[in-house]
Every structure is written in structure tokens, then in C-alpha cells.
Subunit: 465 residues, 2 copies
Amino acid sequence: MAESQNITSAEELASRDELRELVRSQLQMFLEQENFQGAKTLLVPVQPADAAHAIERLPPELHAIAFRLLPKDKSSEIYEHLDSTVQQTLIEEFKNQELQELIDRMSPDDRVRLLDELPADLVRRLLKQLSSSERQATSLLLGYEPNTAGRIMTPEYVSLKEHFTVSQAFDRIRNLANITETIYALYVTDGTRHLTGILSLRDLVTAEPEQTIGEIMTRDVVSVHTSMDQEEVARTIQRYDFLAVPVVDSEQRLVGIVTVDDVLDVIERETTEDIYALGGLQADRENYFQMNLFRISRRRVTWLLVLLVTNIFTGGVIAANEDMLEQVVSLAMFIPLLVDTGGNVGTQSSTVIIRGLNMDKIRTRLAWQIIRREALVGILLGLMMGIIVILVAYVFLQDWPVALTVGLSLWAIATLASTSGAALPLLFKSLGFDPALMSAPFITTFVDVLGVLIYFYVARALVAF
Amino acid sequence: MAESQNITSAEELASRDELRELVRSQLQMFLEQENFQGAKTLLVPVQPADAAHAIERLPPELHAIAFRLLPKDKSSEIYEHLDSTVQQTLIEEFKNQELQELIDRMSPDDRVRLLDELPADLVRRLLKQLSSSERQATSLLLGYEPNTAGRIMTPEYVSLKEHFTVSQAFDRIRNLANITETIYALYVTDGTRHLTGILSLRDLVTAEPEQTIGEIMTRDVVSVHTSMDQEEVARTIQRYDFLAVPVVDSEQRLVGIVTVDDVLDVIERETTEDIYALGGLQADRENYFQMNLFRISRRRVTWLLVLLVTNIFTGGVIAANEDMLEQVVSLAMFIPLLVDTGGNVGTQSSTVIIRGLNMDKIRTRLAWQIIRREALVGILLGLMMGIIVILVAYVFLQDWPVALTVGLSLWAIATLASTSGAALPLLFKSLGFDPALMSAPFITTFVDVLGVLIYFYVARALVAF
């Protein structure tokens, strides 16, 4: 691929994935043959994300060699796309001079994200390599809490003054174009760095050269505070369809911007956390294949131990009703059904409520309305299933009292489960906790214990006479 | 707010949310007093998304009045931000002339998204109102499958020719700036609309006026096919940090572009679908508060009925072992524990695997490696929990055989659950099914039925002698 080809027909390469695989295998071949010139030329026209993909999938011993062949002006960008394990390996291999060139050239927000993922000794080594202006920019960002706007922003934006003409603005943009994160979102500040307006490059392009920035800009500025949670920053960008959002401090001075591409990554990480929480897991920062089995097990066992404790109570209730079971052994048959149903109805309700809360589509002030709806849904579901179960149970056992016991208990459990599935996330959210993390163990406990209590209570009423 | 104020100090308004609430209450007040001039002036400087928010929260009878006061050049954009229920109400209220102005001015991709959400009679009415060129653009998009690149793209992009100079390109951009979706991502086509290169407005701004487009552009074009799934389009934009990605047909001709702001919405919808699937739910397109209770229950009952069938088998296994239970009633105490543990270990494993598959971080070709890891994790978890349970059970029952039965069964169930939690999603993915949708019912069935079988088998071996 000495001269990059246009993809002129779909038949040539079935997909971008195949292209990337091709690049990787070609690269590996060149490196193994020590054809460094060929490898270099191969990598020149390749998209940074694809070059990173190719390097990652080389055998580890070739990582550093391949990276050193990259064109200097793209190496930082390619580095940012690499898997964190490969990033660490390279840092450990590089000499100080190479490190400095790499780290200094990164944009501050990407640098901070890298530093956040590295072990402390590597972080110290890297910070020492930074030029003093870059170290200052980095310390600024590191001064903010993780997962906030201040931490993920970059101070490399274009600022203009209201009195600039459109042509003056263009000159400034041209000078800054290669060192700012974006030139499409432009920020207007006054003499004390207060954010007074925003405009887009599109606004500038469609304006007359003699107009001033003050005439064109929008004064109704949407900005975020440095302490805003990154998920909320992401939602703000999504709501307003922005390319970037300005970050201000408590005096409304502009300190940085967050761009939409970083937001996509934030959203992916936050979503994985939410999905894991709903599944009873803590999110891992590391690659699945990198984690050692003991660590994985240790992280998963927490939730399971909670369940164990819950089931001491359920077991206790069943033990207390052993006389009932001795009398009517067939009652035991339905225990898994009741436990499963409670679990699933509860999960359905809590999934809807938790997702709605996270997406800001449900507000806690409507809590009672929501709980009432879910309770009604539980009643309907319990009714539908209860009737089916009574019939099925009768077909198998020819025993109305037991069948009715199971049906009624199922109805009660479904209602309980949907109600608590809605109520508990809302309660936790209003107390300031993460609804996804806290709800599942409590919902299960509540529903399981109350469920078996109801079961045996109804059984005693209907069966034992 | 006749002259929009800068937000000069954080104390003035604690948050953007408060500002929006202020706009809404002011607007409502003006409308109720029939102060239409005041309402109009209020809305002029407000961000489209915020104006939509304000209108949505007005009493329904004021929606149309408020909307008609909006400045014409922003009304389409504001309309796109409205909740779909409000959108429908407005359409039903509008006269044909108003409809035409509204619909004609929308960008094609937003129009198609609106049409996709409306009932058929409204869609027909709207299509009739379109001017013929807009109807053509719309039909083009509607011709593509839902949820594909072709459906979510817009044909309003900037295309340039290789021989253009930078100044000529700027002229063209200036002319197109108000009618294209974006001017920051620029596409170079040949005489037959084949996509030959791409460049960014930043590239153009930093170039010399006499250079040609052909000299500046990148020939290594990343594009997507019209039939590509929208989730994959989103991933592509995310991977390459693009602002937009070009969409080509099977002859590599450029037909449209998908911009990053639309991708954020796609990601949110697709994530909700995934999260719901993991919770045993089908995703709803509608607002939570709009759906009637019977519909909600009907959509949730499917998964629950599957569980019912599963539990006929578990119930059957328990029934077949009733003699065992009669002998050792305390065995019943632990059934909820075993069922819960199987469910949760299975959920943990499948959550990790399914999320990894959806994020393209796990590939099916590494299936055996993954299954083996999860099996080992299950063994470790089962060991940890099994030991704890044996001790706890002994403390409660003073009965080693039962305690050991429970512990060993738990160990076996944990291993089974983690293995199938990994294996089944991988199997379904490799067969072309959605792993999230299919896995949960099957995993639960498999683990529950085998779990009780193992429990009683071990019980017979250890307890009954």
C-alpha cells in the first residue's frame, strides 16, 4: 500500500474491518522482515484509529518498534487510540526523550485521561518529562475531581473579542487552528476572561468581513461548571446538539471546553457502569482479558454474599413453616416459581425506572405517580399469571387449595415486586445514592422474604384445615 | 427578557434547569394574559432545545398558540426538539399551510425520523404538504430499512471537486452554509458522484488560497454503506472521532452523511434497548407516562410466561423428589438460595459478555477462551460461597450431610451458571441473534432445572443412607 488506494468498489474489501486486518498483517510481515521503510510507508496514509488497531494486534515485542516508525505529527494521536495495556508497555520501553515528545504533544485532556489510568510511578516519570507550560496545563486539570467537567475538558480553545471584525477573527483562527481542539466552536471573552458569547465557524463563514463578532455572536450561552458530573455534561451536549460546550469556573470565567468526541467515550463508559450495576457488578476499567481470575471473582462475590444473607431470612421463614411442608410437600414445588417471578417482575420495573432516572426522563417529584403505575402493572401481571398458574397447578395436582395458594401468592408477589422495583430506586435517588447500584439487592431481599411469608400464610389459610 | 442577559454570576441562576423553568413560567404567564408580544420577545434569544422544553410543559391548550409565536427560521428546529406527543398534537391542530412551512423546512433526516413515529394517516397528510423536491428527498430516505445508515442520513452535505482552489471551495461553502447539515466535514466527489476524498473545514482554513482541494484532501476515506446498522455507524463515528461519516451506495457513490449529533441519539435509543433486553423487556418507543397500563403489562408478560414454562420443569423435578423432601424437610429451606445464586451468577457473566459483544470488545472467535475464563470464575465463586454456606448451614442445622449437600450444589450451580452465562450469548451471537434478547430466559431455564436436579442427586448420595 505504498500509494493509498481509493476504495473504488465494494467487492475489493468487504468491510473496514477487513481493511484493518490487512494493514495489521502487512505491517507484521514488514516488521518481521525488518523492512522498516515498507512499514513506515504503509502507516502514513492510515487513519490514526486504524494504525492503533494494527499496532495493538502485533506481537508485544513489536509494539515499540512499530510505534517508533510512526510519523511524528501523528504519533500522539495514534497513541491516544491504543489500548491502555499497550500504552503502558510503550511508556515502560521508551527513553525519556521519546516520552517527552509523546506526552508534550498530546492534548491536555487526553494526557490527563492517560495519567488517570497509569500506575503512580509511571505518572511521576511522565510529569517530569513535560515542558513547564504543559505541566501547568496538566496540573490544572488534575486539580479537578475525577469524572467532572474540569477533569475531562481541554484548555485549548479559540477565544475571540467582541470588537474583532470577521476578518480579524479568521486570522486568529488560522493561527490557532493547529493547536486548538476545535475551531468550529468559538468563544467570546472580555478582558477578564468572562464568557460573554459564543458563535460557530459557520456563523463566521456566512457573515460579512466587516461585521464585528459582537454583532454575530449569541449571548445566551450554555455553559457547564467545572464541578459538573461528566454524565450531565454529556447530556447537555446531547440535548443542545453541540459540538462542544464551554466550561466555566465559579466566577463564570472560561477555563476550557469539552468536545462531543470525548462525550461519546464518556457515554460509553458511564453506560457500561450502569449496565454492570444492573447486573450486580462493579465496572472494570481494564480489558476483560487482562484481569486475573482472582480479581474478577473478588469483584463479583460482593453481591452474591448479600444474596447469601438475604437467603438466611428466606430459609428461616421456610424452616419456621416446616410443619406446613411436611403436611403438604407439593408446596415445595412452587418455591422456585415464586422466587423467579418476584425476581423478574422486580427487575423489569426497576430497569425501566432506573433507566428513566439516568436519562432524566423520569423525575423523582413524580415518584408517587410512578409507584402507583408500577403497582397497577404488577397487579395486572400477577392476575394474568396467577390465573394461568392456578390452572396449570390444578392440572398437575388435582388440588384446588394448593393451586389457589400458589396463584394468590404469585399475584401478591408480582404486585410487591413491581411496587418495590419502582419505589426503591426512587427512594435511593432522592437520598442521593446511585439507584442502579443500590436497588437490586434490596429489591430481591424485600420481595423474596415477604414472598415466602405470604406464601405460607396463604397456605395456612387455604390448605391447612 | 427583552434583551437577553449574560449569566454574569453563578448566584443569579443556580443552574440551566432553573433558567428553563423560568422561561416556561414566564411564557405561560404571558400567554394567559394574552401578551403575545411579550411571549414572542421572550422566545427569540432562547436556545431551540430550551424553547421546546418550555412549550412542552405548557398546558396542552397553549401548545399551538405558543408555537405559532416562534420566529419562522427557528420553528422547525424547535419542533424537532419537542416530545413526540406534543409534535402530534400540533400537527393535528395546524392548517395545511402551516404544516407545509414546518415540514418543508426540516432537514430530511429529522423529517424521516418524525414520519417514522407518527400514525399512518398523519404521515400521508404530511407527505402531501411537501414540495416536490423535499418529497423526493424524503422518499429516498424512506426507501431504506429502518435503523440503517440510509434511513438516518441526510442528503444535505457539501461536496467539492478536486480541481477547486481553496478560495473557490470557500465560495461554495458560503453559498451552501445555510442549507447543509454541516460545513465542517467536506466531501470530494468526481463527475459521477463517486466519493474520492474528504477534508475538514479546518484543513481548508489552514491552507493557502491557491492550493487545490486535490492537494489537501485525504484519500483514505472512511465511509459506511447505506445498509449498515445504525449502531455500527455510531461506533464508526466514535472510533474515528468524526463529526460526520459519509454514506455511500453499492457503487461507492456518495448519497448522504450521518452527523455526530444524530449518533448521540442513536446511541441512547440503542442503549435503552440493550438495557431493557437484559432486564427481560422489550423497548418502548413511547414516553413512559403516555403508555396505557394494559399495553405495558402485555409487553412485560412475555418473558414471565417463559419463566412459567421453565418452572414447570423445575417443579416437576422437585415433585419427583418429594420422597426426599418428606424425609429431610430442611432441604426445602435452601431452594431459594440455590435459585437466586444461579440467577445472579448467570446474570453477572452474561452481562459482561453481552456488553462486551455489543461494544465490539469481545469477539466470538475467542469464544472458547471466554467460556473457559467464566467457567473458572464460577468455580472460584462457587468455592468461596459454598464454603461459607456449608458453615452457615451447619450452624443452623447441626447436620453435616445437608450442609455439604447445599455447599456442593451451590458450587456446581455457580459453575454451571457462569459457564452458560458466557456460552449462550456467544452461541446466539454466532447464530446471528441478538445475544441480549435471547440469553436470559435460556440461561435461567438451563441453570434452574439442572440446579435442582443436581441438588437432589447430591442429597440422595449424601443424605439418604
